[in-house]
Amino acid sequence: MAHTMTSPEEMLPLTPAIFHILLALADDERHGYSIMQHVAETTDGQIKMGPGTLYGTIKRLLASKLVEESDERPDPKLDDERRRYYRLTPWGRRVLAAEVSRYSKMVKVARAVGVAAA
């Protein structure tokens, strides 16, 4: 899944794990635990990823240049300085936006057929 694609749509659909991790990184750079907390909060605890899934997905996101590791380290007084922080790349943001747009279209279709509330 290397970044050799020209259009973000070629990366779609994203797996739920990838989608939620990208969404968690959309507003801020975060470390693994913070990503997990964000995913649990935004999904009302419905999605709980284990460490294996989280870091396996992050590894693939790094390889496909959707996220990158941040050089910044937290203040050792406030947080564990061994934590690694990740952030969205511009390419990752475009892919996430394309996926959100795809979801929006699906919601419109669902509303049109009476499955979702208008």
């Binding site: 693994g32 284990g50 460490p51 396996g56 590894k59 061994r82």
Partner: protein
């Protein structure tokens, strides 16, 4: 920072041990972070449900560990240089050339006079068997190339087989088995697997075309 309960510390120790299920490069890059995340989640589970919370957490983590370690192991095998070579597009052709090359070599007087006929034939049989096995994992749309290679193989072996039989009958070859010759049977099976694979790939191609 409050001290971690003993059960959380023991859980973390066990989890760190279990991380050996992942391939070494993955462990090198992510083991520390995974263990750290596990400890954080473990602490949360303890806060919400104490021992019962920890048990629930372990029941969620173990399938995750089993599944993702298997995925990483498979990915590591695919990254392996040998697998890259095997998966290379040209590998069936290379194996075909090796198989046919050693087949030609078997007629050399030097090979026949030095008891090398059997080892050379073993390489031939293994090469054409490997060709078939590698082709079995190629995509269905390569069926025509596979069929062409198989056609070449069958054509050349249609010349080789009677020649080998004649050599054995005249006693020109030493070191080959007496009838029933198990190696001869293995060679024929290795050969016949090739058209079978070509047929499988053609059927796979037809099914894929129908689906699309």
């Amino acid at each position: 920072m409050e001290p971690l309960p003993k059960l959380v510390r023991v859980s973390e120790k066990i989890y760190r041990r279990l991380l050996c299920l992942y391939p070494a490069p993955h462990r090198r890059d992510y083991a520390e972070q995974m263990a750290q995340l596990f400890r954080d989640q473990c602490r949360d589970a303890w806060r919400t449900g104490h021992a019962a919370g920890l048990v629930k957490f372990w029941l969620r983590v173990l399938p995750d560990l089993g599944k993702t370690s298997a995925i990483e192991r498979i990915a590591a095998i695919e990254r392996n240089q040998l697998m890259k070579y095997i998966n290379a597009k040209s590998s069936p052709t290379v194996l075909l050339v090796v198989g046919l090359g050693f087949g030609f070599l078997s007629f050399s007087p030097f090979i026949m006079s030095h008891d090398l006929f059997l080892p050379v034939m073993i390489v031939t049989a293994l090469s054409i068997l490997s060709k078939a096995l590698v082709e079995l994992f190629r995509p269905g749309n390569e069926w025509l190339k596979i069929a062409l290679r198989t056609l070449v193989l069958m054509f050349v072996f249609a010349i080789f087989m009677p020649a080998w039989a004649k050599l054995k009958m005249t006693g020109a070859v030493s070191g080959s088995g007496m009838p029933p010759d198990p190696f001869g049977v293995f060679l024929v099976i290795s050969l016949m697997i090739n058209p079978a694979v070509a047929a499988i790939k053609f059927v796979q191609f037809l099914i894929q075309r129908r689906k699309s």
